[in-house]
Amino acid sequence: MLDSKIPSGPIEKKWTQRKFENKLVNPANRRKHTVLVVGTGLAGASAAASLAEQGYKVKVFTYHESPRRAHSIAAQGGINAAKNYQNDGDSVQRLFYDTIKGGDYRAREANVYRLAEVSVNIIDQCVAQGVPFAREYGGTLTNRSFGGTQVSRTFYARGQTGQQLLLGAYSSLMRQVGDNTVELFTRHEMLDLITVDGKARGIVTRDLKTGEITNHTGDAVILATGGYGNVFFLSTNAKASNVTASWRAHKRGAYMANPCFTQIHPTCIPVSGDHQSKLTLMSESLRNDGRVWVPKKTGDNRGPLEISEDERDYFLERMYPAFGNLVPRDVASRAAKRMCDEGRGVGSSKLSVYLDFAESIQRMGESKVREKYGNLFQMYEKITDENPYKVPMRIYPAVHYVMGGLWVDYNLMSNIPGLFVLGEANFSDHGANRLGASALMQGLADGYFIAPYSVGNYIGGEKLASIKSDHEAVKATTQAVKERIESFKKVNGNQSAETLHRKLGKIMWDHCGMARNEKGLKEAIQQIKTLKEEFWSTLWVPQDDRCLSSEIEKAGRVADFIELGELMCIDALERRESCGGHFREEMQTPEGETLRDDANYSHVAAWEFMGDKPKLHKEPLNFEFAHIAQRNYK
C-alpha cells in the first residue's frame, strides 16, 4: 500500500504541521552529510543552492556543459503566484482550486494546496535575486493572465521568464560553488542509481567528455531531471531532455506514476517537413491577445487575409464563451485537432489553425504588442519566414510537458527511501493537465521551499552508515553501467539512435498522443516490442567511447525511451476514462469533452518495474476540500 504521508488536520494547516513535525539536523552536523543533486534546472539548482546554504555538502550533476543550459531556460510565459496584486479576487485558496480543477481532479490535494501556499514566497525570493520581472510605471510588479484562470496572477519577464528564473537559481547555485559548499560536475550524466539496503545511497555517472564511468555516494539523492516528453521524438523539449535518470531509478524499484499523462500544448509552430528535429512553442500568453480561428468552410484554400470576418470561425470563443481563447491547454489542443480533423485546418499541411493578432494590434498599437510579445514574434518569423504582425500565425498542438513521473509522497520522497524527486520529474501537482505558468512555480516550490525541509527530515531521522566506493552494491552498479555501454557497441548494425527514436516517436504520437483508444494502444504496444528488437539488432554507435560521443549518449536515452513508451501505452490502456490530457476516444461526452470516471479511476496509477509485466499500485485520491465536479469552461 502506498503511503502518501499527508499530514492530518485542515488543509491550510497541513504544511505548517509537517514543518513542525520534521526532524532537524544540527547546523554543525549538516556538513557531515552529502546530498547528491541530479539536474540543474529550476528544481535542481534551487534545491542544491538552498541545501548548501543550510550547510549540507552538496554535489550537483548535469549533462549540460553549464547548469544554465537546463531546459527550464526555455519556459516563456510566466510563473503563477497567489499574490493578488491585481486586486481581482485571487487567493491561495483560488490558486489551489484552479490547479486542482485544471488538473481534472487527478492531483493530490494536499500537495497542490502547499504549492499555492508557497507560491508567494517564490516571487519574493526571485525578486530579491534580481530577476527583472515586468513592472508598472510606479515600480510595482505587474501580471498577465494565463489559460484556465479568471484572475491575473502570472508574473513574467518578457517572453523569457524561465530564463530569468533559471539564471536567478543558477546564480544562487554558482555563489555556493564559489564558496566551495557545492561541488559541480558538468557534462556528467547519471546512468544508474545505487541502492544499499533498499535506500538510495549514490549514483553512477559518465563523464561525457572522457567517457569515464564513476560513482558518487551520499546520504540522499535528489532527482530533478525534468520530463520525458521527448519519448514522442518531436516535442518542445530540448534535444537532450530524456527519461534515463528517472527510468534507471524506476528499474531500481521507484514507482512510475501516471506515465501516460502528457500535456499537448496548443500553441506551437507547425511541423514543416521530415527533417524536423524539434517543435517550437509559442507561449500561451499569446492567447491573451491573439484570437484562434479557422475558416468556416472546409477545404478553404484562400490566404488568411482574403477570408472575411463573417467567414471565420473563432472556435474557442464560440465553444467556450466564458474562457474564450484562454481555456486550459488540453481543451484548446483538442479543439484545434477537431477543426483539422473536420478538414478546416490551414497551411500547406492543413494541420494548423490561425492565431490572429490583427485586432490587438488595432486596439493597442503595434508597439505595445511588440513590447509584450516582441521576442516571440521574432522567433516565429525566424522559423517560418512569415511576419506575424502582417499575417496571422499558424499554430498546432505539440507535446510539451508530462504530468506523469516518479511517484513521490507528500515529502517528495519516492518509495525508495532517500530518493527525492522534484519538478517535472515527479508526478504530484498537476493531475491530468497542467495549467500554464505552473511548471516554473512547481519547480521552484519543490527546490527552494519543500525539498530543503524534507531532505533534512530524512537525514535527521535515519542512521546512515557511510558508504565507500568499494561497497559491493556500488561496484556492482558501476559494473552494470559499463556493461550496458559495451552492449550498445556490440550491436554493430547501421542505424543511428536518432532514426530509431523517430520511429518510436511516430508510434507514440499516432497511438498515445492527443487521442487514444484501446485498439490503437494495443497495436502500439506490439509495435514498440518490435522496435525494441530492431534497436538491439540494428543500432550503430562509434566504438570509441572514451571521448565526447553523442551517439552513445543518445543510444542509452533511446533504449530507455522505448521501454518507457511501452509503459505509457500500458498505463493509457489501463485508465479507461478521459481526464485532462488523457483522452480516451471511447470515453467522451456527446459534445466531445472528456468524461471522467471518478468511481473507478480517482487514483494515482503507480507502476512497479517487473520486467515485461509491470505491477500496478493504486494511491486513492480523496477530495476533502476541493469540490469535485465536471470541468466546465463554457
Partner: protein, 247 residues
Amino acid sequence: MKLNLKIWRQNGPSAPGNFVDYHVDHVSPDMSFLEMLDVLNVSLVNKKETPIEFDHDCREGICGSCSLMINGNAHGPETGTATCQLHMRRFKEGDTIVIEPWRAKAFPVIKDLSTDRTAFDRIMAAGGFVSVNTGNAPEANSILVGHDTAESAMDSAACIGCGACVASCKNSSAMLFVSAKVSHLAQLPQGHPERAKRVRGMVTQMDQEGFGNCSNTGACEAACPKEITLENIAQLNREIVRAVFKD
C-alpha cells in the same frame, strides 16, 4: 539544394584538427542549420563513420549551447540569431559553407565543433549573483523598480552565455558577457549592496581565465544573438572605477 561543407574535425582537446569536406544533397530551405547537420550525421552513421560533434540543446535560441562559426561569423550571417535559429533559406544552391568551433584560448575544443565554456561559470561564481539565502527575501513589492529601469535591466539580463562575443572578438575578450551581468545587477536596487565587490570579483576572474582585453571594436555586439549592446561595457568600465572607492 546541394551544398559543400568544410567542417573542422578534431578528435580531442590536444589532438590536431583539420577541415574535412562533406557534400550534402536534398537540403530543404525550411531546415534549420542544425537539422542540416543532423541529416549529415545520420548519413555518416549509416556508413559507420563517426558523426560530427556539435553543441546544441533547446534549438529555440535561449539555452546558449549552439556555437558555430559559419563562414567566419559567430552564429552565421544573420544578426540577432543563434545558430539553431538560422535556416537554410539563407543559403543558396552550391554554396560552400565553412563550419568551425568557437576559437579562444579560454574555450578549449573538446571535440570537433564542441568547446568548453566553463570559464563563464567560474566568472559567474566570482560575483554574478545577489547574496540572498532562500527564505531571506522581503515582500516582493517592497522593492520598487521603475518600469524603464526594469526593462533596461532585462535588456542586459537577456544574455544567453553562448560565447559568440568571445568568438567574434579579435582579442577573445569576454567583456560583453561579463558586462551584461554586471550592468543587469548594477541597475537594480537588489544588486547595490554588492555592486563593487561583484565587478571586482568578476573582472579578476575574467582576466585569470585568459580572455583578452576589450579594444572597443564592437564585433561582439554585431555577433550577439540577443543583441546585447556595448553600452553594457561602458557601464562595466564605470562600475570598476566606482569600485575603487567602495567596499
